[in-house]
């Protein structure tokens, strides 16, 4: 199991952001975390990483998360990044090499080559010297993936990787993610577009502060579970879900 989460609970002032959320993410799986706004999806990812202090237990690769930190990569929401920051694509990727270079270590030829190889894996090697803000949204996502690859991660936590990117770019990112999974990586992404869940992911975690349902898309991504997670508001959702049998999947 790449990641095992049990009873994650977090209270912001008087608001319960996470209420005993639990989930398991097998190695090599690709999971979509879905749920309504305010369901605590981003908070769930940050709590798993210990970036916010939540109660509950989290184990990565069978041990404490802190021990596996070098294997875990986190790709933040696009809105959380300052894109005017004076940093080039290659500099961002080199930030992923910090554990190797250390505080005073110089960036030698081997490290540079390592970073360039990571860029090549996401098809961004020709953009190495561009300022990060000069790229399109999808290219920026790929640079963050390259940073994660340079780090040597094989567990990827992505917060809405497809927010604000066009369809072609979305396809490019998903191709990169699927290639990573083929190499044994585990991928967990907060996802908003219900219509593409089945096409992109093999597992789903439906949550609304607590876990509503989790498991393979085929058996878990059901009308009943969605209604439970989103409430009646989903009736207004334009994705037009049909409401028959429990294994019914939404139109992709």
């Amino acid at each position: 199991m790449a990641l095992r989460v049990q009873g994650l609970t977090l209270r912001y002032n008087e608001v319960l952001a996470l209420d005993g959320a639990s989930a398991q993410f097998p190695i090599g799986s690709m999971t979509a975390i879905i749920g309504p706004n305010g369901a605590g999806k981003s908070t769930f990812l940050k709590s798993v990483l210990g970036l916010v202090a939540a109660a509950g237990t989290v184990a990565a690769f069978g041990g404490p998360v802190a021990q596996s930190m070098p294997r875990i990569a986190y790709v933040p929401q696009r809105a959380a990044v300052d894109w005017s920051f004076p940093v080039r694509v290659i500099d961002v990727v080199l930030m992923g090499c910090y554990r190797k270079t250390g505080l005073l270590g110089l960036i030698d030829a081997a490290t540079s080559a390592h970073a360039m190889a990571a860029l090549a894996r996401v098809g961004m090697q020709d953009f190495a010297r561009r300022q990060i803000g000069a790229l399109s949204g999808g290219q920026q996502q790929r640079v963050f993936l390259a940073r994660a690859l340079a780090q040597g991660a094989d567990l990827f936590l992505l917060d809405e990787p497809f927010a604000g990117v066009d369809a072609a770019t979305e396809a490019a990112i998903i191709a990169v993610l699927k290639a990573l999974r083929k190499d044994g990586a585990t991928i967990i992404a907060v996802h908003h577009d219900l219509s593409s869940v089945a096409a992109y992911f093999d597992r789903v975690l439906l949550m609304n502060r607590r876990t509503v349902a989790e498991g393979p898309v085929a058996t878990t991504f059901t009308r009943a579970a969605l209604a439970q997670a989103y409430g009646p508001a989903l009736m207004l959702d334009p994705t037009d879900l049909r409401s028959e049998g429990p294994t019914e999947r939404p139109a992709a």
Binding site: L51, R88, Y98, L103
Partner: protein, 285 residues
């Protein structure tokens, strides 16, 4: 006279002061680059203004102990103590209100207290308080050789520290969550950066003065950012701009009687920023 000062021909002391101010400017520019990238620019303003009560209290303490009230290291120690207190107050208040409001409240309160103490000191008529007000706007005229050495080496130390920490500082400024995952402690980095900025403020007390040091921290940095696409490039260019402003400003101030150094340096930096805007303003930074 100004040209002589600029060309280091106005005497050994004046040359030393100009070089010291250049190193201070470089340190302020480099520290300011990281500070603005971390969006903490105004914090330095609160910190600088919070030095004033400490300067007054240190003066009183030194006079009470029978010493010279204007002994610079003593004044710096007092300044450091209340600046740290001001910084602590901002962080404490920021839990209850927005950080900008907390910064404003602390800045004004500490500065007000400092002005009251300074006024009281001038009323006492002891311990040669004349000249103490130069910490407000800076004055390099008649600066002692020892002071110039403190300023120069202080600036140099800050530059060395920033150079060795440039990578973790950049990571924390760009993506603090990722930095944390890579084993960098953002809180410790922020505290370190604040300590380095405090060192710049203290060293700069006699050069720019405490009111305008924020301009030497921020203005070169925002100019440099419009020219460079890397953090190291921004910090280096910012340091160069700061050094040039510090050098020329100190030389001009030293050769024109009664002209405070701080405003001259700040006007030079603002001129550089205006020039940058004219040339680069239409491009995306």
């Amino acid at each position: 006279m100004i040209w002589q000062a600029l060309l280091l021909q106005a005497g050994y002391n004046a040359a030393l002061v100009s070089l010291g101010a250049a190193l201070l400017g470089a340190a302020a520019g480099a520290a300011g680059a990281f500070l603005t990238l971390r969006r903490r620019a105004l914090m330095s303003d609160a910190m600088a203004h919070a030095t004033l009560p400490g300067i007054g209290l240190a003066f009183l303490a030194m006079v009470a102990l029978g010493g010279d009230g204007r002994f610079l290291p003593g004044l710096m120690l007092g300044a450091a103590l209340t600046a740290a207190a001001g910084l602590w107050a901002v962080q404490r208040l920021a839990r209850q209100m927005h950080e900008d409001a907390a910064t404003g409240a602390v800045l004004a309160s500490f500065y007000g207290a400092g002005i009251v103490i300074l006024t009281l000191i001038q009323g006492l008529g002891t311990g040669r308080p004349a000249g103490l007000e130069t910490v407000l706007l800076g004055s390099t005229a008649g600066m002692l050789r020892a002071d110039a050495l403190v300023i120069g080496f202080g600036g140099l130390a800050v530059i060395c520290a920033l150079w060795s920490l440039r990578r973790p500082l950049a990571m924390v400024a760009f993506d603090p969550l990722h930095a944390r995952m890579m084993g960098v402690n953002p809180r410790r980095m922020d505290a370190t950066l604040m300590a380095l900025v405090l060192a710049v403020v203290l060293v700069g007390l006699n050069v720019t003065g405490l009111i305008l040091i924020v301009a030497l921290l921020v203005t070169p940095a925002v100019s440099a950012r419009m020219w460079s696409t890397t953090v190291t490039g921004t910090a280096t260019l910012s340091a160069v701009i700061g050094a040039v402003c510090g050098y020329i400003g100190a030389a001009i101030s030293a050769s024109v009687p009664d002209l405070p150094t701080g405003p001259v340096i700040v006007l030079l930096a603002a001129g550089g920023f205006g020039l940058t805007l004219l040339i680069r303003g239409r491009r995306d930074g």
